[in-house]
Amino acid sequence: MAVMLLAAGACCAQGDIVSDTAPFSSIAAWSRVLLMQDYNTRVVIFGVAVLGGASGLVGSFTLLRKRALMGDALSHASLPGIALAFIVASTLGANGKSLPLLLFGATVSGLLGVATILVIRNQTRLKEDAALGIVLSVFFGAGVALMGVVQQMQTGHAAGLEGFIYGKTASMRAADAQLIAVVSLLVIAGCLLLFKELKLLCFDEGFAGAKGFPVVALDVGLMSMVVLVTIVGLQAVGLVLMIALLVIPAAAARFWTDTMWRMMLWAALLGTLGSIVGGLVSALFPGLPSGAMIVLVCSVFFFVSMMLGTRSGVLVRYRRRLRLNRRIDRQHLLRAIYERIENRTKHGASIHESRRKPVSTASLMSMRSWSRRRLMAAIDRAAEDELVRKKSDGFKLTSAGFTEAARLTRQHRLWELYLIAYAEVATSNVDRDADDIEHVLAPEVIDQLEDLLDEQEMTIPVPMSPHDVSDDHADATGDKR
């Protein structure tokens, strides 16, 4: 244990914390870690930061390739390799804690796990999710059992091995961190060099193959980068939570942008930041596993991105939907008013004459199934934009409002006529079907509709409604909705 602590916390700041039973009193030690005055801490944090960046980049690719969980299976499958490497080395009298040896064992069993998944997926009827579940749990279970064997062994000290499970930056030496940094930089270089090729692989494997790109080799390349990041990350993040660093930054980044290189930049930044904060906290409190800290920090990023993300965050989507609903409400309102006005012309008045008489809210209530509150809100908003003007006995359309209402009604009826003429929708259903889609008609589609219906010699200004729009009918359909 003492050996491990010495080796682990070669940095005196960490040594202080470990020996100090009350770290909170030691402000000097805190500032030493936080300001990274100590060489070892600096190197460790740097290594972890580069690892976070590399994970963000590789993770973006695997997320878009829908292989995100492959990294999880890989990291879990590395445990038996670590334990076996320790056991074999110890029984042969070598240093069981030699990091290259442990990582070698981890790589071999991790790859074996991935290979098993591929065999199960390709040779049986089982799908990838089942294969992942089987391999992940079986390998991890075997690893836990072997760790139990390790604890029973007389030779060597198994202490410190559990750092691979949950991650422990506090027990990392500068040399370990350098290894992490070098491998991570290699992976970052690989991601940047193969950006175009991997992007094509993730988007359209078939086209990549048709263009002569070696799809299998590219897949292997991507997987190799996942393996590299995962294996060197074991010590810092731990095998249980390594997947978080691969998935969360990339998933969080997706909420902020629709451009792939921006997404990867964001993912790398979030991964780096999460790793630095997580690594620092773990260096301050050796009792706190760095893996858990990194995950917690990353998950804060994720939550914030999910809510506030400017591209597809929850709030943005909510606002978009609200705006769409309001637009639809307005279109319904204006069309309802237009149809009310139009009904009056049946008694001989011209449309412009009948437009001047106000329309009551009560008469609109019967036109469709909208709540009074929603209707009043739509009227208020329309009044604000000066499309309608409120009067003592109801309200009437302004001239801008009338133009807009006529346009909307025309659009609705063109669509109805199209549905009747070409989609063979029954006249009695056409109003509802047209409602479903008219709000999203693009101008070019309206042009086409006009052309089509022109050939049919139908009137183009505001055509007559193909179905009855008088009050009693509106009541009937209103009830149905």
Binding site: L193, L194, F203, G209, K211, D258, A442
Partner: protein, 286 residues
């Protein structure tokens, strides 16, 4: 682009060449044009179940070819096997007289629209630029001149103004046009298209037809998987009727007959189907 020397003539009755022994592996259709796609005895199976069986035909150069057949007839499989995307159990594919590998730069591929995730964070321009990736070369970035060409290709299919839009923001027809532009941007000689007309709006359908006719005018060949029988005579010159094997192939006027369609789509099992069915039963009982 590598120019292949054109043959002056094809001696049909001199020393027996490969093409006279294997008529379907011809390099030349006898008129001086290279055969864009020649398939001989192609069989593809998924898990012991044949999808296409003993398929063979030569496509005429410079024509618009419709590949027609019922669902599950193996139309997409045929295209994919022709491009080595899936392994074939037997058979030979020749593209302009050589392997697909040697001539793939002369082939433009339009996969099915549903084959990719349209939520992917790329713009229409990015997708079209993918058609130039092999030309750009490994590890090299997409440069302005490539983007300019991609933009031109998008304009050619009529959606130049949507170049910078994320692909999920495009309508189905616009997505299909983007895929088409990706194949057009590389200026191939043979285009293989997997259901480009599936679920597109009328305007896109017309645009695609115009593009196909323009390709033909420029001497290109296009083999298009098509599902709307009514428009086949209008859109295509040549037709391949496929239902696991080639039922018939030839010019639309002579081949696209109700009798052949009956054989392709008809409910009655033909002899080969019965054999296959019997073999399947035998396999499953083992």
């Amino acid at each position: 682009m590598v120019e292949r020397p054109q043959k002056e003539y094809q001696p049909m009755d001199s020393s027996p060449s490969l093409s006279s022994v294997l008529p379907s592996a011809a390099r030349d259709d006898g008129t001086g044009n290279e055969v864009p796609l020649s398939i001989y005895d192609l069989t593809v199976a998924y898990h012991r179940k044949p999808v296409i069986w003993d398929v063979g035909f030569d496509l005429p150069a410079g024509q618009l070819i419709g590949i027609v057949g019922p669902n599950g007839a193996g139309k997409s499989t045929l295209l994919k096997a022709a491009m080595d995307l899936i392994p074939s159990a037997s058979g030979r594919v020749r593209v302009f007289g050589d392997s697909y590998r040697a001539n793939r730069h002369r082939v433009g591929y339009v996969p099915q629209r549903e084959s990719v995730d349209w939520q992917f964070p790329v713009s229409a321009l990015d997708v079209v630029a993918m058609g130039l990736y092999d030309e750009i070369g490994w590890c090299r970035p997409v440069r302005r001149r490539h983007r300019d060409r991609a933009r031109l290709a998008l304009q050619h299919v009529g959606i130049g103004e949507l170049a910078d839009r994320q692909i999920s923001q495009l309508s189905g027809g616009q997505q299909q046009r983007t895929f088409l532009a990706r194949a057009l941007v590389q200026d191939a000689d043979l285009y293989l298209m997997d259901e480009p007309f599936a679920a597109v709006d009328a305007a896109t359908e017309r645009a695609i037809v115009d593009i196909l006719r323009d390709l033909k005018k420029r001497g290109k060949t296009a083999a298009v998987i098509h599902h709307d029988l009514q428009t086949v005579p209008e859109y295509f010159d040549y037709v391949v009727l496929l239902n696991m094997r080639v039922v018939a192939h030839g010019p639309v006027e002579t081949t696209f007959t109700s009798e052949n369609l009956q054989k392709t789509y008809g409910g009655r099992l033909t002899l080969l189907d019965e054999v296959t069915e019997a073999m399947r039963r035998r396999e499953s009982s083992l």
